[in-house]
């Protein structure tokens, strides 16, 4: 039984290391940022998940009691990974305004949120989200 659990933990660690290095290799190898996002956000999350499950089993096997820290870290990372990827993709689109023409239509009266102006309020004025007199403006390509 001990050998079985030990082998399972070792397999999880090696598999997690494989996924981690594949994700980072994809980050270094792929040609464009939109494709590069696939590597880290999928494979590294699998890698972290494998390491955390291995650590959970390891402390359960060695100490005999269950530790909840890993579940906290897993929950936090799995919640934040898509938000981070979305933010990075949005900032990438924002920096490359020439991509505006390549994007598919949204199918509604509003354009893509990254490129669109602030929403129009009930009084017909744009809702004040940011000061209008900012240098560079909303759609300016900032250096």
């Amino acid at each position: 039984m001990d050998l079985l659990i030990e082998g399972l933990i070792a397999f999880l660690i090696v598999g997690a290391g494989f996924f981690g290095i594949v994700g980072s290799f994809g980050l270094a190898k792929l040609p464009d940022l939109m494709t590069r996002l696939h590597g880290p956000t999928k494979a590294t999350t699998l890698g972290i998940g494998g390491v955390l499950i291995a650590s959970m089993l390891f402390f359960l096997w060695e100490r005999g009691h269950f530790s909840w820290h890993e579940l906290l870290i897993t929950l936090f990372l799995f919640l934040t990974a898509p938000i981070t990827a979305n933010f990075i993709a949005k900032s990438f689109l924002h920096r490359r305004m020439s991509r505006r023409t390549e994007l598919p239509p949204t199918g509604s009266s509003k354009g893509w949120a990254t490129f669109d102006g602030p929403p129009i309020g009930a009084d017909g004025e744009p809702m004040a989200i940011a000061p209008a007199d900012r240098p560079g403006g909303r759609d300016g390509e900032r250096g």
Binding site: G20, L27, T44, S55, H69, F76, T80, A89
Partner: protein, 89 residues
Amino acid sequence: MIDIALVIGFSCFAAALVLNLYRLTVGPSIADRVLALDTMVINGIALLILYGMYEGTAVYFEASLLFAMVGFISTVAYCKFILRGDIIE
């Protein structure tokens, strides 16, 4: 058996960190660099947890949880700065 697996895991994540460092120095756009830093944080968390298993202590869980939070907040702050020119409006 776990010792050998830990050594393999350490070397895999260390090589992943080197690849991220390559993307951080080369990466043509700013978003590439933010992505590389975010991935470095995730690989660092994996290294911390593996080191906690190697030492047999649970001390490193708090460190990795803090590391995850700081990494997420810094990535979001950086992207917010690129998008809006400001972090808290």
